[in-house]
Symmetry: C2
Subunit: 229 residues, 2 copies
């Protein structure tokens, strides 16, 4: 019974690694589509999100089966409940990559962002991909040194997010209102993607150490981020 | 054992009703602050969000204790796992009310939205409050007739959300970029608040009937909403 439980738990863990890999692919492709106004790639990201949604359902069903059939307690129980929460965050990260792709589709053949902000968005997108890659590695290896890296990358996204709002408020900002709205949303999507990455990383940290990482734990709840503060 | 379990489960259910009431208060106050540029009330909403966060932690700890000590299966297990998910959505709804209040604080003494969009935002806010009130009633009574009402209110919010973007893209739109960004975010917050309300309602529907409500279940995942489509 115990051995079966550990195998099932390992399977759930493997699926979390896998969904995180799909999220990385989604954000990598969304970034590529975003920077090159590649509507075909954007459509692929949008279509592929269904697979991420299905994976979340699969992980959750397996986790609930584990609870029903094995009745885990203590650390094992926290691990299963943690998997339910992490799958929700990872699914949401997939949605946010999809939202980026949907902006690309909406504005095609134009680019979503105007030239003055493109370098900023390139950095945000790269940090988002870096977070996603490190998250996969963290889920695979449980090397909690990666948690601090993920938190630091998210702080850089938050700074870039603030700089987008500073640019919009500047007298030099010349884009029209629709573009302003697009930039606002795109920046928000990257920022939320990073928050969810930190939230998953904090949960792994907790499961490994039994302690919350006070820098990044609970994502937005503890860091009290307002998107425009 | 069985009797204690049902009492504990009822306690978790009562706490979900209570957190939903706090969310309603948060959104009601955030709306009032938003419409009148009342920075003091906005500060109260921001401060009160800590209580909602603490309630979520409390609900989750009780739910995990239930899993550990009682090892529920079948419908009872789904109810406990459902409580974990609903508490996460309700906590997030509290965050979104706080974000509205943070916009009020940021722009004080100005109003966040310009005159031409105020009627639209008043309707969005009212629908958000209506969703929250019906959600409390749904959690209390399990009267699943409320699910359709919540879904319909959310559809109205989605239409108003789309109309905000249409207004921004109109030639008559004369507000500056910072105001455009604020309107974009505020509209997005109301829209997400409604999505989370539908998501909680769909979970109650599932727990009561064993079937997903195909109109509104899984929130964004199944309705495939893009914020600007």
């Amino acid at each position: 019974m115990r051995k079966i439980f550990q195998e099932d738990l390992q399977n759930v863990g493997d699926l979390l690694v896998e969904i995180s890999q799909y999220v990385t692919t989604a954000m990598t492709d969304a970034r590529q589509a975003f920077e090159t106004a590649d509507v075909q790639l954007a459509e692929e990201v949008i279509a592929a999100d269904r697979r991420i949604d299905a994976m979340q359902t699969d992980i959750d069903e397996r986790a609930i089966d584990l609870l029903a059939l094995q009745g885990p307690v203590a650390t094992d129980l926290r691990t299963v409940v943690g998997a339910l929460r992490m799958s929700a965050s990872l699914e949401r990260m997939g949605d946010l990559a999809r939202h980026i792709a949907q902006l690309v589709r909406l504005r095609y053949p134009d680019q979503v962002t105007p030239e003055p902000l493109r370098a900023t968005f390139q950095k945000m997108a790269q940090h988002a991909i870096d977070i996603s890659e490190r998250l996969t590695e963290l889920l695979r290896t449980r090397d909690i040194a990666l948690v601090a890296q993920i938190t630091a990358l998210n702080e850089q996204i938050n700074e870039l997010h603030a700089s987008v709002f500073a640019a919009l408020a500047d007298h030099d900002w010349a884009a029209n209102a629709a573009t302003t709205a697009d930039c606002t949303l795109a920046s928000r999507y990257f920022e939320r993607f990073g928050d969810h990455g930190v939230s998953v990383a904090a949960k792994v940290h907790y499961l490994v150490t039994g302690e919350w990482d006070s820098r990044g734990s609970e994502g937005e709840a503890r860091s009290a981020i307002s998107p425009v503060e």
